[in-house]
């Protein structure tokens, strides 16, 4: 009985390992969407980005004129945008919807208008 249980456990572990390898392989085949953005007083370009749920994304954001922030609280994304140095945010959206983002480092008179949205579809 003990020998039978041991074989069952070994089989389970082997199958789990196979599943892990398969998943990694599937993910590795997923194309990563790269979205380049710029930020300057008082706008992001583009300020609306459409993504697909489950597709890995790299946001590459470059501040053109001064330090800005990028904050998308609903997706848990945040970065400082130092002038001239692209900031990279990697994530895979797991839920659909419209998720606003904004500049969270005060940058001047139009700071409150510096905003956009990430739209995630199925």
């Amino acid at each position: 009985m003990k020998k039978k249980n041991a074989w069952s456990w070994l089989t389970l572990v082997f199958l789990a390992a196979l599943l892990g390898v398969w998943c990694t392989s599937v993910m590795a085949d997923q194309p990563t969407q790269v979205v380049k953005m710029t930020a300057k007083r008082y706008e992001y370009t583009p300020n609306e980005i459409t993504l697909k749920k489950g597709t890995p994304v790299i946001l590459e954001i470059t501040a053109l004129d001064r330090l800005h922030g990028f904050n998308c609280p609903d997706l848990g994304l945040r970065a400082d945008l130092t002038q001239g140095t692209p900031a990279t945010i990697r994530f895979t959206p797991q839920k659909t919807g419209r998720f606003p983002f904004h500049c969270d480092i005060f940058c001047g008179d139009g700071h409150e208008e510096m905003a956009g949205a990430i739209i995630v579809t199925e």
Binding site: F106, C107, D109, H111, E112
Partner: protein
Amino acid sequence: MKAIDRREFLKLAGIGGVVFASGLGSMAFAADKKAGMEDFFFVQLSDTHWGFDGAKANPDARGTLQKAVAAVNSLQKQPDFIVFTGDLTQTTDDPQERRKRLGEFKEIISQLKVKNIRFMPGEHDASLDNGAAFKEFFGDTHYTFNHKGINFIVLDNVSDPTASVGEAQLLWLGTVLKKFDTNDRIVIFTHRPLFDLYPQWDWATRDGAKVMDMLMPYRNVTIFYGHIHQEHHHVTAHIPHHAAKSLIFPLPAPGSVPKRAPVLWDPAMPYKGLGFRGIAAEKAKKEFAITEYPVIKG
């Protein structure tokens, strides 16, 4: 000064309004008239944004502050002190213009009868130069004072443009709080919300949670702030937060519309959503009674 009861206080204060009891406990006014105990009240004004120019939001941007000064001066009983919770001026990139606006603001509010006035910056006043100009006109951006047994702490969450209090100020806060007993009454004045009111609109403080953690052991803390241009009340555990209306234009309720933008002026209801508040400290009850006043009597 003799102790006064609530009805007499409200009569003395003049214009009525909705009275909100802050803190735990009932609204019953103190019947305890122990010798030496007295009530007092102070006035909070916020987000005056002197220098703002936008007729669709406020065609009287150059006159609203003066009207607020007149309204405070017309209270039948004058407050013990007045506090401005930030965004005194509208931001500008020009350091000279920034100082001009701070100077003009200071000149206008010098007409207040009460000379005991406390100030703190908002991001519009301080975020572009780390508070340098503000300090020239109004002194320290964070400090403490005691008034009739209540400990007041002014926190600066705007001179750092990332909307943070910062480690140095947190250390300072720690040394201040160590001097207090956990039952002492503490009032925090600050500009931005210290909790995540609506981060999607930047209505938060990046290290606000650290501040709240430091305040949690203290049983009688109340926070008054501005920034969001509307009356708002929230409680974190036992600590109430009260946001004040602005004196320039209202903003929408959090998340009520897609974009955070000024609520436009309604000529049929001028100055709607603008105002200031009186806060009555009831020493025996350890709670505050808040009265909201309009800029213009309706």
